[in-house]
């Protein structure tokens, strides 16, 4: 297992280096960020001053070497637009996105697994058919439209929930999050639901397929023959077996929900990282784009690692030591 993890980490640092190279030169190729930042009526002397102040007067390869040297020391550069170290800027926004993503993923498991199990257990009932039909809407409706509709119904028309923004932030065990206040939860509910909708449907479908596949299997019959209750067979034995694909998918979805929650964050004016990366791309704010993508790559690497370890716990046949080969 240790060898496996070390090999993983070595591969990852290579990916990180390639990533930084691609993004650095890619953003450089789009154009000169000064043209975007500068006040339009600035004269040429002011433009020259700004170019020098941001270090953009040096050749691109020199800028890149400087970046790598600083990055190794843990400094990914300062945002051109905010004049804040880009890591700090991203970490400032991270809690908002994390709480949104965690609540969304929790919703998708809490709602998706039971609904999916029921739909798989009694596949011909009206309830099961309704669940499955509903799940089709869940992943076929565009999330920006669903978001606008949620705002329209629950905020504008019914007035039950606030339309946009993040609410009050509370503190619990040293963690600052809007999950800990009623006002914060009210603000969180609609965006989290909007973000979760696709994943709920995905989990329902995966769970149902797992149920349908596992129920006729020998171990289920054997367990029943042994005299175990129906309840125990399904909630312990079957559930354990269908969880493997769900863990994989949910793991990867946590990653993409954190990294790409941009549509939901934009519609609900949620001050998270997704909003930050889009603004940074529009501004050609290279330090933030590079730092953000490096963090996202790192996050996916960690998630994959955790998923692999969870695998081996859920299914002892999987041996991590062999996986790198």
């Amino acid at each position: 297992m240790t060898v496996f993890i070390i090999r993983r980490l070595m591969q990852s640092s290579l990916v990180l280096l390639l990533m930084s190279l691609l993004v650095f030169f890619g953003v450089f190729a789009i154009g000169d960020p000064i043209e975007i930042f500068i006040a339009p009526d600035a004269d040429q002397a002011e433009r020259a001053r700004a170019i020098a102040a941001l270090g953009l007067d040096k050749p691109i390869w020199e800028q890149y070497v400087m970046f790598v040297v600083n990055a190794v020391a843990g400094d990914l550069g300062r945002s051109f637009v905010f004049n804040i170290p880009s890591i700090e800027l991203i970490l400032q926004r991270m809690p908002a996105t994390l709480e949104l993503a965690i609540v969304a993923v929790a919703l998708s498991v809490v709602l998706g697994v039971p609904l999916g199990m029921y739909a798989g257990y009694k596949p011909d009932g009206t309830v099961a058919k309704t669940i499955m039909a509903g799940s089709i809407f869940g992943f076929s409706l565009p999330s920006f439209w669903v978001g606008l509709m949620l705002i329209l119904i629950f905020a504008v028309e019914l007035g039950w929930l606030p339309s946009t923004g993040r609410g009050e932030v509370g503190t619990f065990l040293g963690i600052h999050s809007s999950i800990f206040t009623l006002n914060g939860l009210k603000h969180l509910l609609l965006p989290a639901l909007n973000l979760a909708l696709f994943n709920i449907s995905l989990v329902i479908r995966l769970t149902r397929a797992g149920m349908r596949e596992n129920l006729p299997m020998d171990y289920v019959k054997f367990a029943r023959a042994k005299g175990l209750s129906k309840r125990r067979v399904i909630l312990i034995h079957v559930l354990k077996n269908i969880l493997i694909p769900i863990v994989t998918v949910v793991g990867l979805e946590i990653g993409s929900v954190i990294a790409f929650a941009v549509v939901t964050e934009t519609i609900f004016a949620w001050p998270g990282m997704g909003k930050l990366i889009i603004d940074s791309i529009n501004n050609l704010d290279r330090p933030v784009i590079v730092a953000y993508l490096m963090i996202v790559v790192l996050m996916f690497i960690v998630i994959n690692l955790v998923v692999d370890i969870l695998y081996s716990i859920l299914d002892p046949r999987v041996r991590l030591g062999d996986m790198g080969k």
């Binding site: 789009i30 154009g31 000169d32 960020p33 000064i34 043209e35 975007i36 930042f37 500068i38 006040a39 339009p40 009526d41 600035a42 004269d43 040429q44 002397a45 002011e46 433009r47 001053r49 700004a50 102040a53 941001l54 300062r78 051109f80 637009v81 905010f82 004049n83 804040i84 800027l89 400032q92 926004r93 920006f144 439209w145 606008l148 509709m149 705002i151 329209l152 905020a155 504008v156 028309e157 007035g159 606030p162 339309s163 946009t164 923004g165 993040r166 549509v263 934009t266 519609i267 609900f268 004016a269 001050p271 909003k275 930050l276 603004d279 791309i281 529009n282 501004n283 050609l284």
Partner: protein, 525 residues
């Protein structure tokens, strides 16, 4: 993400369901579309940042809602000779920490402005070359190396900070430590990408704000802003998108404020290269050997081929004004003689014939698709108008990040392009100098002259105007310079944008040409 039809649908259903707002609560929430990036008033010369700074800081000269200079921290200013200004400061003004405002704070501010590290766009040009002396704590004598009639207007964007913060880094402002100004509100918090909070400065020297506290929320998505004002989560929003207007108008709970802005949307044409990259022969498809845009008759033909009325009516629901000059009528330096060219396809065809293009030519035009409201639609509308006049036109729209860098120096990649210009100074020397003066880095002329238009007569008039202290004489020169440049089609004016605010109907807002949304001017009806 904000497809107009969907928003329309959403808002149509929303009519009449919004809850009322309680004015007596004395807490105001504003939703702004611009992204505020810093609290440091000298860090980034950017509309949203300059707007938020006006809540906390004052300037020597203030701009009123029509961008006319009015007394701020300076009670009066006058030129004692061509290169000397005497500025009398307001007495009895207190900073938020209770200390007195004096000339020393102005001197320190002027020192800090060019110093701010890593600034992507600074205010250094506004205070460049100034020699300031302080005969007494409430008088400033400013010597300039050359006559500088624009000095009061330049100083209207320089926010005065407390002198002891002369070397406070940007981070101190973001954290609030250095947010000590003389403005109508005291700073209480900034969450980047989310909100700025403030409370009333009860010791303010000017009219005090109605609100005991105010929150400015950053909401860059137009549909989200509309939903927030309809549901009453915020009481006023700016940059209302055209598609939401008809429904907002029908809603009793919502009021609308509009004003013609100082933002001109125009076409810039390559008038420098002998062969321009995007003009082609109609028959062969080969690039034309001679740049047709250098011929004034061709430029005039293109201007007459455009149906400005149609564009403003169909695309903007009337919320844009056809333009014939550089700034709307009634502003300083605007010629009353410049009217929008009438839409006349026959006249355009005749002009093209005279210019030696009886069969026209082929042209590719470029513009941004995410910078100005409906910019891509306007360009898509102009394409067929040109084609009807005989210039077979293809339209290419690009994200602003790409377009802005390609269209200006050093590449100057395009032949004809759609761009916008907002005049921060509220008068015509701003567009003349940046867009139409011959490119000259030493003088700071033509920094955004994407067409590289050059006209010696115009240059002479402009530089004379920029050396003339007497306001009446200067205005005459600016009017003349505008007429020369616009009649020569240095650029083709299209329309002036209209600034639109939507607010709860129990409130009023004095709409502003400079697009700022300032909590101190939101009042109960």
């Amino acid at each position: 993400m904000n497809r107009p039809t969907l928003t329309a649908l959403a808002l149509a259903a929303a009519l009449g369901f919004a809850s009322a707002t309680d004015v007596s609560a004395q807490a105001l929430t504003v939703g702004v579309g611009g992204n505020i990036t810093s609290m440091d008033p000298h860090f980034h010369n950017l509309g949203p940042n300059n707007g938020i700074a006006q809540h906390f800081f004052d300037r020597l000269v203030h701009m009123d809602e029509r961008q006319r200079p009015t007394p701020g921290l300076a009670e009066s200013w006058r030129a004692t000779d061509d290169t000397t200004w005497e500025i009398k400061l307001r007495r009895g003004v207190k900073f938020h920490d209770g200390s007195d405002f004096t000339a020393a704070d102005v001197v320190a501010t002027f020192k800090r402005v060019p110093w701010v590290p890593n600034s992507p766009s600074s205010f250094a040009a506004m205070v460049r070359g100034l020699d300031v002396t302080v005969p007494d704590p409430y008088t400033l004598i400013i010597k300039t190396p050359a006559p500088r009639p624009m000095l009061p207007i330049d100083l209207a964007v320089v926010n005065i900070v407390k002198g002891s913060n002369v070397e406070a880094p940007t981070a101190d402002f973001n954290a609030g430590k250095a947010m000590i100004g003389t403005g109508p509100f005291k700073f209480t918090g900034f969450v980047p990408g989310d909100r700025v909070t403030m409370e009333r400065n009860d010791a303010y020297w000017g009219p005090k704000p109605h609100w005991a506290s105010a929150t400015v929320r950053i909401m860059t998505n137009a549909s989200a802003r509309s939903a927030a004002v309809l549901s009453g989560d915020v009481q006023i929003i700016d940059q209302v998108q055209t598609a939401d207007l008809p429904r907002m108008r029908q809603n009793q709970a919502i009021g609308i404020e509009t004003i013609t802005s100082t933002r001109l949307i125009y076409l810039h044409l390559d008038q420098e290269r002998d062969a321009t990259p995007f003009a082609f022969d109609k028959a062969t498809g080969q690039p034309l050997a001679k740049n047709p845009l250098k011929d004034k008759r061709v430029r005039e033909a293109l201007s007459k081929a455009i149906n400005r009325e149609g564009i403003t009516r169909q695309i903007f629901d009337g919320q844009a004004i056809p333009a014939g000059g550089l700034l709307p009528d009634g502003m300083y330096g605007v010629s009353p003689n410049l009217k929008p060219d009438a839409f006349n396809t026959q006249a355009a065809q005749a002009l093209l014939r005279d210019a030696g293009f009886p069969n026209g030519f082929k042209l590719t035009i470029h513009g941004p698709n995410d910078r100005y409201p409906e910019d891509d639609k306007v360009l898509q509308a102009i394409g067929p108008m040109f084609t009807r006049a005989g210039v077979e036109t293809q339209v290419v729209t690009l994200p602003w990040a790409t377009f802005a860098t390609q269209s200006n120096r050093p590449t100057y990649a395009y032949s004809l392009m759609l761009v916008g210009w907002g005049s921060d100074t509220g008068e015509t020397s701003s567009p003349l100098r940046a867009l139409l003066a011959t490119v000259n880095p030493d003088a700071g002329y033509g920094a955004s002259n994407r067409g590289r238009y050059s006209n010696a007569a115009m240059d002479a008039l402009l530089s004379k105007a920029l050396q003339t202290i007497d306001p009446a004489a200067r205005e005459k020169l600016l009017i003349e310079a505008s007429e020369v440049a616009v009649r020569d089609y240095g650029l083709i004016p299209l329309y002036y944008a209209v600034n639109i605010w939507a607010l709860r109907s129990n409130l009023t807002y004095q709409s502003r040409t400079d697009e700022y949304t300032l909590a101190q001017f939101v009042k109960p009806r």
